[in-house]
Symmetry: D2
Subunit: 333 residues, 4 copies
């Protein structure tokens, strides 16, 4: 009974069917019948004209966004616990050619204007210091919290004031939107976001992620960078097809809701053990070593997350019975 990562989940039927359906002769790279529809499909989702690129990983999406927003001699403000800082093996540094990540504080991996301001105040405005060029947040965060449109907008205003590009790592963007029930537009460009890594793989995709640029963005350089990074798949139609299938009829939201609901079920059972409110599909639990062992002895698979804490991740396809069993097991600790 696996609760260690939504990356372990299967691909959803719609995505798989789309891939099978796309399995015929078509043009290479991103000129195929599916890829050319991406911009339009995402523009509908976001109620504005956007530029969308498929990519093979979220790491690539994040890094290409940051490379667009920050020069090699600049820095990117993110949370100390951000995925781009801790879990991408320096991909942002690789794609940006050596930009620095400046680490801000905040509960549950959430930044606030105050925490960003505090960090900015430490930077001297001279040529000896790397100057901030971008701000990156993760929504939902690495600890399963969700930024509201208002919270994003407050950061967006600060970013604009300080001349920072604004990136959102949305590996679990679907879970955030599902939680809030808002328009995807409210959580992104209307709140000042310039670029969004829109995650599909954790949410039932098979192999495709998307990078969305809002506004008058010129994506020409990003297209070259994508090719140059070995991210321009030669049979891109399979990537585009699964994304289109998951956008259609809001499959992406349905999947995210299922994952969120499963997490909510676990969180309800966890009660006072919760480290953070479970606002998306991750539940962080205070458990002793013995308790963690006890859960594992009952065949529940999950990650320890620092001493005395465990991380449980649900997915679009979390087995209802497994969830109930785990909820019960947590309740019985």
């Amino acid at each position: 009974m696996r609760f260690f990562s939504d990356n372990a989940a299967a691909a959803c039927p719609e995505a798989m069917a789309a891939i099978v359906e796309a399995n015929r002769l078509d043009t290479a790279y991103d000129g195929d019948a599916h890829s050319v529809r991406l911009n339009e499909a995402f523009s509908q989702v976001f109620e504005t004209e956007v530029q969308a690129l498929w990519l093979t990983t979220g790491t690539a999406a994040n890094s290409l966004a940051l490379a667009e927003l920050c020069p090699p001699h600049g820095s990117i403000i993110c949370h100390r616990d951000a995925h781009i800082q801790n879990d991408e093996c320096g991909a942002p540094e690789f794609f940006t050619h050596g930009a620095k990540l400046l680490l801000a504080e905040g509960e549950g991996a959430k930044l606030t204007p105050a925490s960003v301001d505090a960090l900015l105040a430490t930077v001297r405005k001279d040529v000896h210091q790397v100057q901030p060029h971008a701000l990156s947040i993760t929504n939902a965060t690495e600890y399963g919290l969700v930024y509201s449109p208002q919270e994003v907008a407050a950061l967006g205003r600060l970013a604009k004031e300080r001349g920072l590009g604004f990136h959102m790592d949305g590996a679990r963007f679907a879970n955030a939107v599902a939680r809030i029930g808002c328009s995807p537009a409210d959580l992104t460009w209307r709140a000042g976001v310039d670029a969004l890594s829109f995650g599909f793989v954790k949410n039932g995709g098979l192999s495709a992620e998307a990078l969305i640029f809002f506004g008058e963005a010129d994506v020409a350089a990003t297209l070259y960078r994508r090719k140059r990074a070995g991210q321009l798949a030669s049979k891109g139609r399979y990537l585009a097809a699964q994304i289109l299938a998951m956008l259609k009829d809001d499959v992406w939201l349905r999947n995210a809701r299922a994952a969120n609901d499963a997490a909510a079920r676990l969180a309800a059972a966890a009660g006072g053990r919760l480290v953070y409110p479970a606002e998306a599909n991750e539940v962080f639990l205070k458990v002793s070593e013995a308790e963690a062992a006890a859960l594992r002895a009952q065949s529940f698979d999950f990650y320890d997350w620092g001493p005395g804490e465990a991380r449980l991740v649900t997915a679009w396809d979390s087995d209802q019975a497994h969830v109930e069993a785990l909820a019960a097991a947590i309740g019985s600790l």
Copy 2:
């Protein structure tokens, strides 16, 4: 009737079935049941212990190989018409952090010890010049020629003498092996090759390529570079599964033979129009603009390849009737 790229081909049934079969909960990244079998599967193919990594593009495979073989301050010798020079938007420079490509001459994009020696002779051995660290050849070449094991071995000896790592871009490695009918070992490590980009996508794969290191290679750095390049797919099982399915029962060779046969059929019809012998799945044809237009008027789709030349590419699934029709059309020019 498309003859413009093997990238336009569909995925073969075995690859697609493997992906569908792999569509269940498993561990993320490359720890899954399929990925952990890659080394063994390729070691059987190559009759020696190898280290194998899946990747999402051939460009990434080539570039990661070169990053292992050449430091940022070094250079890589390749043919003037090499894919790594002309068709990867500077990916080798990106992954190697700025190594130079030194361009050697040779008929049909084929290098010889003499052409490599001639290039090496132009390099001063001082700190003001970038020093060669690697040699990269493409087999089958960008013009559809095939290096024999003897030809590779001659280059391999030169590489070892001159302290150069030896890389083979095998985007169409299957076509080369199928053509020669030799052991894959003869064409690679037994001939001195250190690293092979083993192509699957052009040969009926859906989205997976492989990078093979022979000998006592330490792939640790490459594993970090793969992650850092956003190439460590979070659901890697779909990549591994299709590769394993194509290795099984030599599907990769069967596919390549089909493509080669189709090209041979076209070449036979082309006669004196052939620019190069068609040894793999590409046919380069001398045609006037009017002749090219005439072929296109009959619904044949292909690339012009410089003035007065056209490139026809066949694939594992080239339609027999289309091939015959094109052969006939060429004959009637």
Copy 3:
């Protein structure tokens, strides 16, 4: 009366005379009569065979050292207040092609085995995280403290145990050696240091810094990197000459002692206002805004260093009368 930086000091007479003396036809780059003597001269200073390169800035020396010790996908442990982190505009990231700096804690910019261990404990040993490859300390530190040979050796042992290269930023190495009165060997290679940025410019040099590699180091790659970074001056003899002149008769130590003595004089006057013991040529003072203004009104020039603190830096040529005047002024606050 300037106390804001030892970079503001003049060049010492020996350095200047050496430059004037070197002003004749000689071979270019580093083949001249002076440059070829560097290895030997430094080997005498360090009582072991070393490899020495001149460079035009300390930033270049630090960054080339780090590029040798850390791959692009690795990280370098340094203090949160290290010069390489805060004052070199990302040069380490540039020269290493994007390695990360991991920031450890410690009083007065001084690392301890415990603080390094604590940082190392936060790094997961998997491919998703950048792995530490090097440790860098500054001696004397950015806050004017001096590591003893024992303290360096304790870090050196830790570095070796953990497989980390060990770099010392010795922009004020002379001040540290002068303070301790030890052999330069004790503070470096005998304590496990692999590479030393040996500063001359702050200590009375005009334009030359040195990078020293101890042990069996192969500096070939560094020589290429130096050229590639535009650091191989075409008339290198002027760089080598001033270094040799400052090594001769221990001018470097004499200069450093003068600077240290001036700082000690100020520190004695500062008494309880000292933020840190003044062990080298920097004095950090607690002063109110009004007090700082009062000092400035008396023509003393210095930097504020965070709220309520001022930094006073002495140099080899600090004017004795200015020092006494400042000491008196501090005493009268």
Copy 4:
């Protein structure tokens, strides 16, 4: 009797005197009394407002110019024999983060609109190929030829038409200006040049080179790149002082004329042995091995330059007697 490089020459008295004169307490980096006058001094030379930076090497000047004009995913057109291609150990690739150099043909290392056009015609305008962003020429060229203002302007027009930034490597710019007798403006911005590496070291400087940006250039990024490359010398006043001294009273032109005159004397003696007209301070000579040996036996020091050719370089301080002796020796071959 050395004729192998103008880098071997001494510093001229004016440069040395300026360094000695500048040897007093001043502000660090480029805030000193000399550095702040650079823009104005060069603006007078060029009869327009320019932005000027000192640097420690011509390689750094060239590379920083190219980093400003070309993104990492772009390419720079230069001559096959350009210094940036052959003699800087990949510095342009390092500073640009991996841009490619595209190599054009032309007699005597001189580009023409036709040769640039021919190269541009080989580049496909798609995302798979690196796209040209800059054009770089060397004046005087690596073979001692000089571009006239008209020739530069023709290339400048082409550059503008094709959207290319235009860089001039002026390591021997003084020799070119001295040869033509034109205004420096005519040879640069009036002819469309965006950035000029203005060489001083080969022309009697000690350690300073200059990078000049014309027009409305924003040099902010270049200032950060300079620091990041370890090129912001902490005692920059010695660099600025020597440049100012050489600009004053046209010392730079006087020095260049002396070097050109010495070369002209040698060229006159060489007659039919000349490989190229000696338009600056380099003379390329057809000589057999035996003849070269004969010259060396008479204590003349110079480089072979390919089989059957020798390179003789004169300098501002070429000894008149040595020049006459060499001229006589050449005449007697």
